[in-house]
């Protein structure tokens, strides 16, 4: 059982981390741009989840999946080096986290 606020806090921490990584000048410009766009996509998903929480009775099993995806993405991004395989794998985790969040957002 996870709470909506836990998902939002996790997502907010992930986007902050992505913005920080995107500001790392040792990464190629293309990678910086990619990480920045990931950060903005997570911000967008976080905002959407705040405005349209489909479930959310304070402690809802539906939030367990996005929370787990966010934790996984955070771990992958934290360990990010400028090796392209690590970047690709971290970006994939972020996309999955974003999609898991979108799944609990009513459109």
């Amino acid at each position: 059982m996870a709470k909506l606020i836990e998902v939002l806090e996790g997502a907010s921490g992930l986007s902050q981390l992505l913005f920080n990584k995107a500001g790392n000048a040792t990464f190629p410009v293309k990678v910086q741009a990619a990480l920045r766009s990931d950060a903005i996509m997570i911000v967008s998903a976080t905002q959407a989840l705040t405005q349209r929480p489909l479930f959310g009775n304070g402690a809802d099993p539906q939030y367990a999946s996005p929370l787990a995806e966010i934790a996984q993405a955070t771990k992958a991004v934290s360990a990010l080096t400028n090796a392209s395989s690590a970047v690709n794998s971290a970006r994939l985790e972020v996309v999955q986290a974003k999609e898991a969040m979108t799944a609990v957002t009513a459109h």
Partner: protein
């Protein structure tokens, strides 16, 4: 003095003393209500300013991104195959490969009634803290004030999203106060009702906490991150064009400013949430009070402590505005 005359004097004395006590109790209740309103007005100024900062954050995002234009929402590009693409897609783009971001801050029409409700709940608990030692406690003015603020809050609900349990908790809170209003002036009935139905108060308060927490993390924090990032992007672009120390320092100044301002907006929300949690502590004390037997001295001491705690909460609510 004959018997009838003495009896008349005695009845008059009791009546006068009772009237005087009632007047003091009503004044106590009204003082809490007035203080709650003043604190709310002051706190509202803070959130008007916080909302302005949030809007400014979004303006910075648009200013820093030449591909973006102002609107209610912007369409964000998801993939950047060459790394040179702009962040925003043109309005009306059909691509599934995008995301939306709202540029609208939390509506003031939602924030104002939320703060007014917190002020009114504080004032109600202040009035309730006086019930223990009152023969005919007059908590009506405080309850009427909460009912008025709850009605305004419910009217504003169309402006923001709530979950079904949050909606139900606010309806439950309104029922609680409408039912409690009937017992005005009856100390035992008030204590019994609060003790038995206090969970409705707690659920309503918890729903309000959740709503504020969600705004703080999901909207205020995300705009702060975007603003900081967009500003850094813009500043870095300008820094590359000059080597002059003073000019470069001037360019960097807004970064500190925006970090401090956004942090302050976030802390404002956190402080108000903390006060709501403290209201719960006072409410728990007041519910416990009805279950236990205290000496008259203890009653007076506990009443003073609860009352002082409420004054402090109201005063801190008013002081939130000083953060800017």
């Amino acid at each position: 003095m004959d018997f009838h005359r003495r009896a008349t004097v005695l009845i008059c004395a009791i009546a006068l003393s009772s009237c005087g006590a009632q007047k003091i109790l009503v004044e106590d209740t009204r003082s809490f209500v007035a203080a709650g309103r003043t604190a709310t007005a002051s706190a509202t100024q803070f959130f008007v300013e916080a909302r302005y900062r949030q809007l400014e954050a979004n303006i910075l995002l648009i200013a820093a991104e030449p591909s973006c234009e102002w609107g209610t929402t912007i369409l964000l590009r998801k993939n950047f195959p060459t790394g040179r693409e702009g962040l925003c897609l043109p309005a009306g783009s059909k691509s599934a490969d995008n995301g939306t971001y709202s540029l609208e801050p939390i509506p003031l029409g939602a924030i104002k009634p939320s703060l007014a409700l917190i002020g009114a709940l504080s004032a109600y608990l202040g009035a309730l803290s006086k019930v223990s030692n009152s023969y005919e406690p007059q908590i009506g003015p405080a309850i009427d004030n909460v009912i008025e603020k709850l009605s305004l809050f419910k009217k504003a609900e169309a402006l923001f999203t709530r979950t079904e349990p949050q909606k139900a908790a606010i309806v439950g809170l309104l029922e609680y106060f409408n039912e409690l209003r009937v017992y005005d002036g009856q100390a035992k009935q008030i204590r019994d009702y609060v003790n038995k139905n206090g969970n409705k108060f707690e659920d309503g308060r918890a729903a309000l906490v959740e709503i504020l927490q969600n705004w703080n993390v999901g909207i205020v924090d995300t705009s702060a991150q975007l603003a900081k990032d967009s500003l850094i992007q813009g500043v870095n672009r300008s820094l590359r064009r000059t080597t002059d120390f003073n000019r470069r320092r001037k360019l960097l100044e807004p970064i500190t400013e925006i970090i401090i301002e956004q942090q302050s907006a976030k802390e404002g929300f956190s402080n108000v949430i903390e006060l709501l949690n403290e209201l719960q502590t006072v409410h728990n004390h007041l519910r416990d009070f009805a279950n236990k037997k205290y000496t008259a001295e203890d009653k007076i001491r506990i009443e003073r402590e609860n009352s002082a705690q409420i004054w402090e909460i109201i005063s801190r609510l008013g002081a939130v505005a000083k953060a800017f």
